[in-house]
Amino acid sequence: MRHPRRFSVGNFLLASSAGLVFLFLMLPLLVVFPISVSSASYLQFPPPGFSWQWYQRYLDDPGWIDATIRSVQAATLCTVLAMGLGVPLSFFLVRSRLAGVRVLDRLAAAPIIVPTIILSIALYGVFSRLQLIGEWYGVAIAHTVLALPFVVILVGAGLRTFDEAQEQAAAGLGAAWPRIIWRVTLPQLRPSLISAAFLAFISSFDELVLAMFLSGASMTLPKKMFDNIMMEIDPTIAAVSVLQILLVGLCLGLTSLFGRGALTTTITR
């Protein structure tokens, strides 16, 4: 399988250009770490000394903590909804032989393609009539629309590689369908399910455009960060950023341990 490893100018150029691109990708993530532990009272680089002051300020400010709690709530509800709706939908989209199912497949993937700004103002119009602006569960419902395609793609990919004969065997032995799905099918889909759930959570936790329009005065964490950036660049955001990067890193690590090793499949169908 492996290509023969030869040292050549070509390979060297390839490796170094890839290395530079990886550096470019990681640079914005790396730079917030030193700033977040700076002892300076404003943005200064390199930091003159070490201090936890910005983390302290984050933890002491009820505005930041409330926004964090709201984002965790919204992301949790979004995950539950996206999984609860998306997993059954994947069964339908993968297994049905109805003629119209391909159109519905497109509909389920459409939220990736339709610009978020359009969905945002469309929902802003509807939600403001329903008095849902400023409710965290309104944001969660909107985020569910964006998370559904990820769930459908990941779980669908898992389902396609699953051998349905196992279900028929279980049915032949007299098991009822809900029990078969629960005891035979879903356990084998576990890696896909875990990846899908993490992705749904993170996609909601990080989302800003929908939250900007729908969260009103009760801000989610990204909205609070956005407002903070607009007003002043204060290193508290660097501390919050570091916490977010660590959370994503944790989710990625857990996904690669227990999930389908394929966040890759997310976008490469």
Partner: protein
């Protein structure tokens, strides 16, 4: 055992069961996605007039913004392709550990909030940012370079955000290329570069066009990064839409702009998709 009628009935029951499984999610997509979007688009022709479309597609100011958005999307797509291809090739040839580390370096930024990354670029590229400060301390420049609040800053920020969308499809396409093909070519005496150009590269084109379609479409609707890094000097159509709703409460005009944006998005996505299929025929 069972008559044809029986099996047809079982099949119908199976289809009904599957449909009922999908129904709640489809209802949700209908109510929270399709209906609100269609309702918004319909506002653009409220009162039976096309004046909002005329304003959106004829007024010089708005035409410029639309053209700029298309230009930015094309540039971002081009730069992403140039940067992504070598990375994808390197990843597809790396060993287990290299590939795992590479994917981590790709996916960690990918799933980190766009906001965090945009903030970091503000810190890096600003007048007194990390880069300008360092260059001045080393005596390489006298005055700070204008890295932010211009087109360059917007491009840097957008490319960083969208690059993984280009790398991953190309990487997936390269993994599907049967390594025996290029081994056979090299066994027959073709130099490595030639077997790459004639075999590997054409077979990776499906990934290239999938990546280009995604990156182009996503950058066309970009909002946060140009708003923060452009400093008001780079206006994209999504920012215009937001402004119409937020500041002027001009819903019909925002709806007309949204319709134009959505139409451009879908047309370009379909066109690039068609190119893909054409490309596959050409290589198969």
């Amino acid at each position: 055992m069972s008559s044809p009628g029986d099996s047809r009935r079982t099949l119908a029951r199976r289809e009904l069961g599957l449909f009922l499984l999908g129904l709640p999610a489809l209802l949700m997509l209908g109510v929270v996605f399709a209906w609100p979007v269609l309702r918004l688009l319909s506002l653009s022709v409220e009162g039976g007039t096309l004046e909002h479309f005329e304003k959106a597609t004829l007024d010089g100011l708005y035409v410029t913004v639309l053209a700029d958005s298309l230009k930015i999307a094309a540039m971002v797509t081009g730069i992403c392709l140039l940067l992504a291809y070598p990375v994808a090739v390197w990843l597809s040839r790396a060993g287990r550990v290299g590939a795992a580390l590479g994917l981590f370096a790709l996916l960690l930024p990918f799933w980190t909030s766009v906001l965090v990354r945009t903030y970091a670029w503000l810190v890096l590229l600003g007048r007194n940012g990390v880069i300008n400060r360092s260059l001045r301390d080393w005596g390489w420049i006298d005055a700070p370079l204008p890295l932010l609040h211009n087109m360059g800053g917007v491009l840097i920020g957008m490319v960083q955000v969208l690059l993984p969308y280009m790398v991953l499809p190309i990487y997936a396409a390269l993994l599907r290329v049967d390594p025996d093909l290029s081994r056979a070519a090299e066994g027959l005496g073709a130099p490595a570069w030639r077997s790459f150009l004639r075999i590997t590269f054409p077979l990776s084109l499906s990934g290239v066009s999938a990546g280009c379609a995604l990156v182009f479409v996503l950058s066309l609707g970009f909002f946060i990064t140009p708003a923060l890094l452009g400093g008001g000097r780079v206006i994209m159509i999504s920012m215009l839409i937001e402004q119409q709703v937020r500041e002027f409460l001009d819903w019909p005009f925002a709806a007309a702009l949204s319709t134009v944006l959505l139409a451009a998005t879908l047309v370009i996505y379909a066109l690039i998709g068609r190119l893909t299929r054409g490309g596959r025929h050409a290589t198969s």
